[in-house]
Each structure stands twice: as C-alpha cells, then as structure tokens.
C-alpha cells in the first residue's frame, strides 16, 4: 500500500470517527454547561465556563450508588446466567448428536424473529405467577434459560474446535460434562467474553425490563435513574447529560480493555469473515 493510499484511508477513518463520535462529544460538552448556556448555545462544543459540579449534582439528584449497585447485580447476575445456560445449550447443539437436533436449532433461531413485545405479557404473567414480580430476580432468572442469539454465537465457536479433541478426551474416560467444563469452555474464552460483554451491555442499558417488572425505587437500575431528569415542563438537560456520561463511561472503559478479546470472539464465531 502506498503512502498516499494509507493517508487517504486514515483521513476517511478520522472523518467517519469524528462524525460517529459527535453525539458523544455533544453529550460531554452539554454535561459541562450551565442550564442557561445549554439553552442559549446548544451547538457550541466548548463550554464558556466548565461546570464540573454538574456531575456532583447529577449523582446527588438520585440515589446513584443504590441504582449502580442494582445495575451491577443485574449485569453480573444476567451475565452468569447467560454464560452458563447458553454455553450448555450451545455445547449440546454443536458437539452432541441427537435426534432432531438441527430442526430444534432452526426453531431456536426462529425465536429470534419474535419481537420482544409479543412475549412481553406472557413473560410478565409467568414471572408474576412464580413470585418474581418486583424483584431483581425477574430480570436475572430468565437469563438462566438461555437466549437464541448467544446460543447461536457459542455454537458457531464450539463447532470450530476439532472433534478429535473431544474424541481423545472420551477415550481418556472424560464424561460429556467433563469435556464441556474442562476442555471446551477453557478453549472458548474469547467467545464467552464476547457473549458476556454483549449481555453485560444489554443488561446495563435495559430500560424495558425494569419498566415492566420493577415498581420499588430501591430496586431501580441506573437506566431508570436517567429518566428522572426528564420532565414535560422543566428538563434538567445539563444534569441528564452529566448522568448519561457517567452511565456511558463504564461501558466505554469495558470495551476499551476487552476489545481484543471481543474482536477475537467475533472473528471466530462466524459473524465476521
């Protein structure tokens, strides 16, 4: 590649990166403006006076630490549930031979076409019947039952692991559980990290789930807390943007540190050629 071609690619990449990061910059900039300045100069990226106290006020305006704690419980609980259930199901679909396996897998994939709203009411009624309404369990327990996308992702990865390894383990006397737990899972860290990251982000951002199942404010997650800065008559846009920045930061940091594993997982699960 010539110097000119390389430069052109970099210029294009910087251009598109700037466009894509513009909303984040507006959020960051707005989080440091006073309410009057947001109203008067909403498009100016550099604030006239930097209002760092917006962050303190945003944290103080809601039970931030309690919401953060709830969010972490939701994220970690659902990541654990997803990794355990989906990897087991994926192992069965990828490595075990049983009657109707591929047909059932097609049905599983078909469930991805169902809009969330279709299953909303039955899911609500079911979770209410088993006593999980208004508990964080309503959002965590279903993840222990697997989800189609994560199962698909892990199955694709497991299929890339040579069958000879499992055969050798069987000859050495390892049970199917042993092969899954001691051979396949340790070899699948990038794929598991990818699925875990996807689930973490989904749980972190989830608004509809808490909206349906939670009514006590001591159980609300952070995504719900952001809504409290919105009003028909008197929005606190500066605090909303400060809280949104705090809300986005952990996900950005997580992706920054996990991106190599994440990309490796994506590249080896058939999602990327």
């Amino acid at each position: 590649m010539t110097w000119l071609q390389k430069s052109t690619i970099y210029v294009l990449l910087i251009f598109f990166a700037a466009i894509y990061s513009l909303p984040l910059l507006v959020m960051l900039s707005g989080s440091l403006k006073s309410p009057t300045e947001i109203q008067a100069n909403p498009n100016q990226l550099i604030p006239q006076s930097w209002q760092w106290e917006n962050y303190v006020a945003a944290i103080g305006a809601m039970p931030f630490w309690q919401y953060l704690s709830n969010t972490l419980v939701l994220c970690l609980g659902s990541v654990a549930g997803t990794l355990l259930s989906c990897s087991m199901a994926a192992y069965a679909f990828a490595k075990l031979k049983w009657w109707g396996r591929d047909k059932l897998f097609a049905v599983l994939i078909g469930t991805m076409l169902l809009p969330w709203h279709v299953t909303m009411i039955p899911r609500f009624l079911l979770l209410r019947e088993i006593g999980l309404y208004n508990t964080l369990g309503a959002l965590i327990v279903p993840t222990f039952l697997g989800d189609a996308f994560s199962i698909f992702l892990l199955r694709q990865f497991f299929r890339t692991i040579p069958e000879e390894i499992s055969e050798a383990a069987r000859i050495d006397g390892l049970s199917e559980w042993g092969i899954y737990w001691r051979i396949i899972l340790p070899m699948s860290v990038p794929a598991l990290a990818t699925v875990g990251l996807f689930q973490f982000v989904a749980a972190w951002n989830d608004f509809s789930g808490p909206l349906l199942f939670l009514s006590n404010k001591d159980k609300f997650p952070l995504a719900y807390g952001l809504e409290q800065f919105v009003s028909s008559y008197a929005d606190q846009t500066h605090l909303l943007l400060a809280a949104a920045t705090l809300f986005t930061l952990p996900i950005a940091v997580l992706f920054f540190f996990a991106q190599k594993t994440f990309l490796k997982g994506i590249a080896t699960t058939g999602l990327k050629d």
Partner: protein
C-alpha cells in the same frame, strides 16, 4: 506455570466472591431511607411522571403532607412518563397497583369506563364531592368529569394563550391583536403575501393542532354531551377551520410546510418566538419561565432585552371571549388501591381543597403551575407571585373562564383528538382547494362510529 495459573484462578474466584458479597451488602445498606414507613401509618404509594426540577417540588409536597398529619405516609415514585399507562396496567395485572397515580394523558373516560380507576364518590363523602365540584374551576371540573361523575382531580391546568413579541411588533408599528381581523392584519404586514423571496419571518401561522382552541373561540363545540354526538358540521366549527385554511390560501401549503420545517431545526426546545421566526405563537404557561430565562441571557450578553406579552385568543365577531383548549395532569385512584382514603387526603392536600389553599398556593408558585380553583389563586402568596410575574396573570384569567374546553371526556377521546388534528392538517396542506363541509361531514361520521364502538366495549 501451573502454580501461577492456580493462584491466578484462585484470585479471580476470590475477587468475584468479594464483589458478590459487596453487592449483596450494598443492596441492604443502600435501601432508600424514604421507603421506611413510620409505625401506625398507612403507606400511600404515589406514582407520578414528574422529572427534572419538578421532581424536587413533588417530593417536597409529599414531605409537607407527611409532616402535616399522623394517619398516612405518601411515598412518591417517579416513573417514566412515556410508558406510564403500560406500567400501570401491568401493575394492576400483577396485583400491585399504586394507591395514587398522576398522569398527563387524557385517560379519565377510557379508564373510568373500563373500571380501572375509582370515581371520587367511591372514596370521598357525597358532601366532599359536591363541595369539590363547586370549588373547582369549570375547566378543571370538565377535565375529570365522565358521565356526571368526577374520576379524579387535576393537579394543575395547562392553558394556551398567544405569546406576543412586542419588540418585534413595534418594529412594524403594530400592537397586540384584539380581534381575528387584527391578527390577520399582523400576519399580512409582517409577511406580505406574494413576496418573491422565501419568508424569513411570519406574524402568525395557525397550527393544525390548535383547532381545538380555535373551535371554542369561534363559538363552536366539537361534541354535544346531551345526546352523545360529534358536532363537526356546525357553522362555528366550519368557520374556525375556514379561517385556519385562509392562511393556506394566503401563503400556499408548501410555504407553510417549508417554514414549519424550519422550526424543527431550532436547537433543543428553543421557542420559535425567540428567534423572531414569528411575532405571535400560541403556547402554554410553561413558556413564561423560558421567556424569563431568555431575557436574562439577553441582559447577560448586554443585548436589547425583547419584551413579550401573553394575551387571550382574539375573537371573530360573535365569538366567545377567553375561550380555548385546556388540558392538565390528573390524579386518579386505581381500582384495587390499598390506601384509597389516604390517596384522597393527599389529593386534597396537593390541590388545596378543604382549607388547604395556602399550602397549594405554595406548591403552584414553586412549580409555576396553574391552580385548579380560584380559592388557591386568591391566596396572598399566589397573588404576590402574580404581581412579580404579570405574564402569568393572563393564564390565570383564562383558567377561570367558562369557555375553556378540553378534548371531550369520552371513551375513544385519543382517536377523536388525533382525527380532528389530522383533519385540520389535511385541510391546511391540501394541494387542491379543500371541500371543508365534505371533509367535516366525513370526519364526523368516522369519529362517531369509533366513539359508539368504544362506548359499547366493556
């Protein structure tokens, strides 16, 4: 290497264990202190949609109520306004409805018809209901009355008036309009029809949504509750629509659409009156706060401070004075509420009924909200607020008018509301000359049929 791996594994497991324990402990320690209900008090769970700066005011009302008596303890919970109806119905299905709900959608008739909310006569004494009806402004009473029963109480009224940029009008040698003819004259002076270049300013452009306000101004009613019929084909409603469509004839539908599209590009929620895109705009009382902030920012920048006014909608000959469209945010008590009596006591406290006017006046001043009764307006603290905020006085005068009407409080009201707005939009944006009598007749039949169906649904 093996030893190193096993130590690393143990550290990871130990870290996860510590994190899990930490989160469990934090779940216990961080429980909100205001979720604790004092002994011997009945808890009233109150869902509302107030966020932003208003949330603190709501929480302050709850705090004052909780301090004022010994029987009930109100726990306010801010819920997302956009999906509050969905959340509410699921909570009813889940067997855990709130005791009190404050909602800004026109739900009274639909929910009352379905039995999802209690009529006030199921909670309050007959004497209380009778006195409340007399105590409320007519507009407030209309908002919550379905089949001659009160199904809630508005916590405030949303009233529309014309905001006028007096500085801009003065530049053209104009003064605020008193009649529809004055308003048309202002429009034609600031934006003379037939101008070759694209308009940069307009004096006034009717908004199709505002047909609900102009209908009563022209003396019309959209619905006759005495015989449950939609009444779009009356001369008054037709005259109102015809007047709105006259702006289409004057400037052309494409110019109106183009100019309106420009409003959308205004950043944030900036009021188009500030950018002098219009000299006159119809909007609600909450813009008073925006005007003050705008004037302050102009003063801070050492610019000329623009002067504004808020005036009642000007009438045509034979029209009704101080008329317009009203809506509001209503308190409703859900069917199955555990503490319905406590909810009713809190409603009275918030609105100022039964001798609590002073406290309600304090709330309305804090929020910049319009009281639901003249008795609250008459409180000294509210009068002081009006003296400091003369723009607000127009809205208060309109709130007390007999001629402020909401969208009819009947099952199917949201459909009615949308159909009327769509009708006005179609007429104003039609590329060919609209046949208004025919359009009104067709809409009347369609809406009547929908309402009849909604009324017969159980």
């Amino acid at each position: 290497m093996n030893t190193y791996s096993s130590i690393r594994g143990m550290l990871v497991i130990a870290s996860l264990f510590v994190l899990a324990i930490g989160l469990l402990v934090s779940q216990q320690l961080l429980t909100a202190s205001d979720t604790q209900v004092p002994d011997e008090r009945e808890e009233v769970v109150f869902w509302h949609f107030w966020g932003g700066a208003d949330r603190a005011i709501v929480e302050d009302v709850a705090r004052r109520f909780n301090e004022s008596q010994n029987d009930y303890f109100v726990r306010p919970i801010a819920m997302p306004g956009n999906n509050l109806d969905l959340k509410f119905f699921l909570s009813v299905t889940g067997g855990d409805p709130p005791d009190l709900l404050n909602i800004d959608d026109p739900v009274i008739a639909d929910w009352g018809h379905r039995g999802a909310i209690l009529a006030l006569d199921e909670v309050a004494t007959p004497d209380e209901v009778e006195r409340l009806e007399a105590w409320l402004f007519p507009a407030a009473r209309r908002l919550v009355t379905y089949q001659d029963r009160l199904y809630g109480v508005p916590n405030g009224l949303d009233i529309r008036a014309l905001y006028v940029n007096k500085t801009m009008l003065a530049r053209y040698g104009l003064s605020p309009p008193k009649t529809i003819a004055d308003l048309d004259h202002i429009a034609e002076t600031i934006a003379p029809p037939g101008q070759p270049a694209a308009f940069q300013h307009h004096g006034y452009l009717p908004d199709s949504r505002r047909i609900w306000a102009w209908g009563p101004v022209f003396g019309g009613q959209f619905y006759d509750s005495s015989d449950d019929h939609v009444t779009l084909t009356t001369p008054e409603i037709e005259a109102a629509l015809k007047w709105m469509v006259s702006y289409r004839d004057r400037y052309g539908p494409s110019e109106i659409a183009r100019f309106r599209h420009g409003d959308q590009s205004l950043p944030g929620k900036t009021f188009p009156l500030f950018a002098e895109r219009y000299a006159i705009v119809m909007d609600g009382q909450w813009r008073v706060r925006d005007i003050r902030a705008f004037q302050k920012s102009q003063a801070d920048r050492r610019e000329e401070v623009a002067q504004f006014d808020a005036i009642p909608l000007p009438m045509p000959p034979g029209g009704k004075p101080n008329a317009g469209w009203v809506n509001g945010n209503n308190f409703v008590i859900p069917q199955g509420a555990n503490a319905s009596r406590g909810a009713w006591e809190f409603i009275k406290f918030w609105c100022g009924f039964d001798g609590q006017e002073a406290s309600a006046a304090h709330t309305c001043v804090a929020g910049g909200w319009i009281p639901v009764s003249q008795h609250v307006v008459d409180e000294p603290s509210f009068q002081e607020f009006l003296a400091e905020e003369p723009l607000f006085r127009t809205f208060i005068e309109l709130a007390g008018s007999e001629n402020q009407y909401p969208v009819p409080v009947i099952p199917g009201a949201p459909y009615f509301n949308n159909e009327i707005k769509n009708l006005a939009e179609s007429a104003m944006s039609s590329s060919t000359e609209p046949d208004l009598p025919q359009m009104l007749k067709e809409a009347e039949t369609r809406i009547q049929s929908h309402i009849d169906r909604a009324r017969n649904e159980q």
